[in-house]
Amino acid sequence: MTNVLVTQEKPVAEMLRRAGQARFDAVGYPGPKDEDWRFTPVQPIAQTEWCAAPAPGDDRGATPQPTAEELAAFEFGHPDWHTLVFVDGAFSETLSSALDALPEGVVVASLADALGRDGHPAGAALEAHLGRHATVETTPFAALNAARFGDGAVVLVPAGVELERAVHLVCVTTAAAAGAAVHTRNLLVVGRAARASVVESYVTLAPEARSFTNVVTEVVVEAGAWLEHTRLQREGEAAYHVGLTYADQARDSHYRHFSLQMGAAMGRHDHQVRLNDENIESLMYGLYLTRGEQVVDNHTAIFHDQPNCRSWEVYKGILEGRSRAVFNGKVFVQPAAQKTDAKQTNRNLLLSDGARVDTKPQLEIFADDVKCTHGATVGRLDQTALFYARSRGVPAAEAQRLLTYAFAAEVVEEVALEPVRAQLNRLVLGRLYGEA
């Protein structure tokens, strides 16, 4: 696959591509013998000859660029948010919005543009961070992404800036992405004592298209910064989605993440968070809704390297049909990381006989003065709770939906950004009432 921008790219990108290609040549796609991919059906991705998605300026043939109206459904009622739109991986300036309304020093821009232009305000940050957090060794797909990434977002919030409006990255696939691989790479840097909300949406206008999206998002939360990072995976159910999010946190920082996975034939998200200094808080919430033959896989890893930090993780799943979910949650507590407070919970609700969950908490604790707990459950709706709702006159099917909604609400409620929370509630209800 060629990329028109390669020859003009900054050295940091060239080096990353070379390292990515070398690494991927060495390791290739993971297989069922790789412990971290044991339950993840990678073969459909590995065995497909993916083509390139249409580049900007290409003749898009029968699938023209989507209209702003078509994308309105994805914007949470907030066209005023700083929104970057990528269509089949390519940045669309015309569909993006509120990029001229950024506070002084804030960058919300196309990564390809930033890498291809001398004197871009993100230049120094790219030199410092690109490929340095999610390295090519992190996962085989991260290596593949490094070799082939097309575009993505670079978001910089300088020290002390409290971003009033959210930043929204909309990665939308169209029918033109059928048979194509889209490698997207994002970099988010929130400076000292800065504050921001960033939402990544992976959505589709072609629910039947068999496409492959491979994302790497690097996140840097500097000292005293506050970042809410929400990631919504709503691909079409014939698509494949693999993503790696890697967050590095500095002293006194607060990072809260919410991850939704409800799309894709196979959706895998790896989320790794490294707590590099003291007094850091990391909150990770996840929700997955699966049906049919979907497979959704969440792998999380939290690295407690330093003392006096807190991580709190709750992932919940609601499974229907013959779908499958995988959860693997690693928590590493290094010898220096005394007074660590880490709690991990994974709860799964099976709504059908054919659904299956593989859940594996994995705590490796090398410090002695810590509070670390984990728990995983797989089960059905509580019969007493169902009886409670029915005994108030609510019919059985409605009582089941009500309690399923309540099960999801426990994590959805943790999303601080109200319009996103409201949209998540609508998505859960839509799924419960059998809408697409």
Partner: protein, 255 residues
């Protein structure tokens, strides 16, 4: 109003109700007392249709309608209300939404029109007074993070809204401090009506100081072993359940 005839029920393969007969007329309050494991909570739950129990014999009718043939929601729509001993938490679903959903289901079943949210809030304003509550409680998720007392008050609020024909209070006094007990009991008393039958299930006589029953029945070993007026509760308070259990054992031997 409520006719229970020789009711038998099992949980798994264990028979818990071993032939209970009881008539509760409109306007009456009946207290069901008994030691732990006597079956009194089971009786309450069987009347409301808890799926964990299987009815193996007997009949239950409410105004001539066969309750045992109905699903739990149908019983609620027919006018049965059970105030739970352990009310269930439903995070993410507001008290207002849940109550209106329940209220409208009951109205629909009775061929009445559903109330929109505004009209329902007007109705609620009146009902909240029954449990001495302000409107804030309605935006909180159902029982989620409620104290023990708040949960029980919420049960009585639901009862006030749903206006049942038959109200069954299952250990409503358990886990309540004296102030909460007073409010809950006062709520129940406000809801006493000539066309409503009430069953109060309790282990202790304390609640009956506040909700004065017309009749007291003592359950032991899955049977009613003694019935009387409100003075029976005072006797039990003084002497405990020991003599009663012996009587139950003797009755079992005869049967």
């Amino acid at each position: 109003m409520l006719e229970i005839r020789d009711l038998r029920a099992t949980a798994g393969d264990k028979e818990i109700l071993k032939g209970i007969s009881l008539t509760v007329n409109a306007g009456e309050v009946h207290a069901i007392m008994g030691p732990n494991g006597s079956g009194k909570s089971t009786l309450a739950q069987v009347l409301a249709g808890h799926p964990a129990y299987e009815v193996t014999g007997g009949s239950v009718t409410l105004d001539g309608r066969d309750l045992l043939d109905m699903e739990p929601e149908e019983r609620a729509q027919a006018g049965v209300f059970l105030a739970f001993q352990y009310p269930v938490e439903i995070p993410g679903v507001s008290n207002a939404y849940f109550l209106r959903a329940a209220y409208n289901e009951v109205r629909k079943a009775r061929g009445q029109e559903e109330l929109d949210p505004m009209d329902f809030m007007d109705l609620l304003e009146e009902k909240l007074k029954v449990v001495e509550w302000g409107p804030d409680i309605m935006s909180r998720a159902v029982n989620s993070g409620f104290s023990g007392g708040e949960k029980k008050r919420n049960e009585i609020l639901q009862m006030a809204v749903l206006e049942p024909q038959l109200a069954i209070l299952d250990e409503t006094d358990s886990g309540l401090d004296i102030d909460a007990l007073r409010i809950v009991a006062a709520g129940v008393n406000k809801l006493r009506r000539a066309d409503r039958a009430t069953i109060v299930v309790t282990h202790y006589q304390r609640l009956l100081n506040y909700i004065v029953p017309d009749f007291v029945h003592v359950l032991a070993g899955g049977r009613i072993v003694k019935s009387g007026g409100k003075e029976l509760a005072l006797q039990l308070e003084a002497k405990g359940y020991e003599g009663i259990e012996e009587a139950a054992g003797a009755a079992g031997a005869v049967a």
